[in-house]
């Protein structure tokens, strides 16, 4: 089993004719993901390889029945594209786009409240259920199918590093999710932790955080109160200077809150196995999850 995506997931790519959209659509196809349609307004009727391109998400849904969207639309048009996908009934929207204004995301977040659509991102690498379905820009080959570990992270390449170490230690993954580096996220740590806790095949979780906000602290509280499965944690940014945006819009220590040190101590307090040294994360997981590994 897995969470959010599996071999039956049918994907429509919004912004499929752009450079990034095209490249990653092909990468996902090559991994085995069912990409059933693409959408670019004005380019309906064209196709990418054998994938039909439509003018609207509604057309794509009517003709090809996707349930998931992978979105590469540029920042200026991203909010509009998300609304279009929601109204066409897409259940899961993966927003890869980086650089969407935060006020746009505030509105989208509120708009999504109470709707059945889940959004992951923005500014995220996407989601992968190894061996079944990759909806995102991560390198597929570093993943090891079959579980038993779920991975959730605010980062992109740092997630690849973590997954790579897991696979090197022969620790497979059920599903790996990048929730994105922006201050406002469609899906948060807690949503993913909750889903992993319910997933029978996931036996343990690796949670990768970074400086800024209170999401890691809230997740730690959730772990203590609601989870039986072991969680290994990592937080990037121990050396980050306060007040500076460290690449990600959400990675900023402001007003003395959101430091890596304070996150790490709260996570430890609430029972998360925190690894402070990235080079040893794989070893630590092998140790903490040993009883679930073959």
């Amino acid at each position: 089993m897995s969470i959010f995506v599996n071999k039956n997931t049918r994907v429509v790519v919004q912004g499929i004719t752009g450079k990034e959209g095209m490249f990653h659509t092909r990468q996902c196809m090559a991994y085995g993901t069912q990409i059933v349609a693409g959408v670019t307004p004005g380019k309906g009727g064209q196709s990418l390889d054998d994938i039909p391109v439509f003018n609207t998400v509604r057309d794509a849904v009517d003709k090809t029945q996707p349930n998931c969207s992978m979105l590469f639309v540029p920042p200026a048009f991203a909010a509009d594209a998300i609304v279009e996908a929601v109204e066409a009934g897409i259940e899961l929207i993966i927003v890869i786009t980086e650089g969407i204004p935060v006020l746009d995301m505030l509105k989208i977040k509120r708009y999504l409240h109470g709707k059945k659509t889940r959004m992951i991102g923005p500014n995220c690498p996407g989601i992968i259920t190894p061996g079944e379905c990759k909806v995102g820009i991560m390198p597929g080959h570093i993943h090891q199918p079959g579980g038993p570990i779920g991975v959730v992270s605010r980062s992109g390449t740092l997630t690849y590093e973590v997954v790579y170490q897991l696979s090197n230690h022969h620790i497979g993954q059920t599903t790996c999710i990048g929730i994105g580096g922006d201050p406002i996220q469609g899906t948060q740590f807690i949503d993913v932790l909750e889903a992993f806790e319910k997933d029978a095949d996931t036996k343990g979780i690796v949670m990768v955080g970074e400086i800024g906000g209170q999401a890691e602290e809230q997740a730690a509280e959730f772990v203590l109160k609601n989870m039986k499965k072991p969680v290994v944690g990592f937080v990037a940014g121990l050396t980050a200077p306060p007040g500076r945006r460290m690449g990600h819009a959400g990675a900023i220590i402001s007003g003395g809150t959101g430091t890596a040190q304070s996150k790490i101590s709260v996570m430890r307090e609430k029972g998360i196995h925190v690894c402070e040294n990235l080079g040893r994360l794989g070893e630590m997981c092998a140790d903490v999850f040993s009883q679930y590994l073959k």
Partner: protein
């Protein structure tokens, strides 16, 4: 993007948020002229314009009671290296001062608008503890700060302003003007894509008027594509010269105090790499994220920028190729090495898409690179190199 107080006040005027009569000046003569246009109606305030708080405590804000005093203060402040708790010990060079009309203050308040990421909404904060360090107030007396959350879809309602006004115990006669002020501030925040708007202090004058005595506005970097008007607001003198250069190549670079330079792809991995350098006993000289779509030219420029930093005694490259292919990156490294004389040791750790090809390019380049097989190995090699 941070902007200056005088620029924030320009925005305030645009939104009918009252600010003191004032003019910005780059020279003492301009400062004197500014005073003249305000009919030499003393007292006036001379305020240093730098992108940092705590200017008053650092000696960057002075009250002038005469033209002579105004001249003296302008002479002192213009060109001074102003040190505050936010500038670092080297301080910041003051290139502009704001000359403003002095006011008779009856009461000081605080008004701020921010984005609360946990609540996913805009929050308006107000306090009677105006003119104080609000972060300190929040820490020591959180009950003195009133917060109202605004639904991003509904927008601000009169009830929000009322809630603030009653909590602040504002006199009935000032209610209407206060509501207008709060609404205008909120509208400015929305329309100009602010990530922070702060009026500290917001003063209520003896004449019964609200005036924003100070103004601090930060614009959401992600929104700049729809605000061409802010291009001229960018003050590159407030930024580190290497950071300005890096930004022209779309490199995410932050200069730090250490001596081990590093080039990484992805912000999270870059932060984790800096941490790893520190744990290995060295200090990172920078944060540098070449991004997912780095081209050969960007990699080349990344090298050049790091090598321009004279503190740098070694470089660690940590690349996890996803979108960025290792072969493309390796070609960039080789090109950069050919064009720039790399006179410091370079440790390379590379993994991911097309890594075999990338390693081959580096091996056959004839460059003397120290190869690390993984993060742990890289960390040990950093330790050997730096200690």
């Amino acid at each position: 993007m941070k902007i200056h107080e005088y620029q924030a006040k320009e925005l305030f005027r645009l939104y009918q948020i009252p600010v003191p009569n004032g003019n910005v000046a780059s020279t003492v003569q301009e400062a004197m002229d500014a005073a003249k246009t305000m009919e030499n109606n003393f007292p006036m305030v001379v305020k240093a314009q730098i992108h940092a708080g705590g200017r008053g405590k650092g000696g960057g804000v002075k009250l002038a009671k005469s033209l002579e005093e105004l001249q003296t203060f302008s002479e002192t402040i213009l060109g001074m290296q102003l040190v505050t708790h936010q500038t670092g010990k080297e301080g910041k060079l003051v290139r502009k001062v704001l000359i403003e009309q002095g006011l008779t203050i009856q009461k000081e308040f605080y008004l701020g608008i921010i984005i609360d990421r946990e609540k996913a909404s805009i929050v308006i904060m107000a306090s009677t503890a105006g003119g104080m360090d609000i972060e300190k107030v929040a820490e020591e007396h959180p009950e003195q700060i009133i917060k109202v959350c605004i639904d991003p879809l509904m927008g601000i309602q009169p009830c929000h302003a009322r809630q603030l006004a009653y909590s602040l115990d504002i006199p009935a006669s000032a209610m209407k003007s206060f509501t207008k002020l709060v609404f205008s501030s909120y509208l400015l925040f929305l329309e100009k894509d602010c990530s922070l708007l702060e009026i500290n202090p917001l003063v209520y004058t003896a004449a019964g008027e609200w005036i924003a005595l100070d103004a601090k506005v930060t614009i959401d970097d992600n929104s700049l594509f729809r605000h061409p008007e802010f291009k001229e607001y960018r003050d590159i003198y407030e930024e580190d010269p290497l950071e300005v250069e890096a930004s022209t190549y779309k490199l995410n670079y932050i200069n730090m105090d250490g001596n081990l330079g590093n080039i990484v792809n992805g912000a999270g991995l870059a932060m984790a790499t800096m941490d790893m350098i520190k744990q290995a006993g060295a200090e990172p000289a920078n944060f540098l994220d070449v991004g997912g779509g780095a081209t050969q030219e960007m990699v080349e420029q990344a090298f050049k920028i790091i090598l321009k930093d004279t503190k740098v005694k070694g470089i660690l490259i940590n690349i996890f190729g996803g979108i960025l292919r290792c072969d493309v990156f390796a070609q960039g490294v080789v090109k950069a090495a050919q064009k720039t004389s790399i006179n410091v040791p370079v440790i390379v750790r590379m993994e991911g898409t097309n890594v075999t090809e990338g390693r081959r390019i580096l091996n056959e380049s004839g460059l003397s690179l120290i190869t690390a097989i993984d993060i742990k190995d890289a960390s040990q090699k950093v330790a050997q190199l730096m200690i």
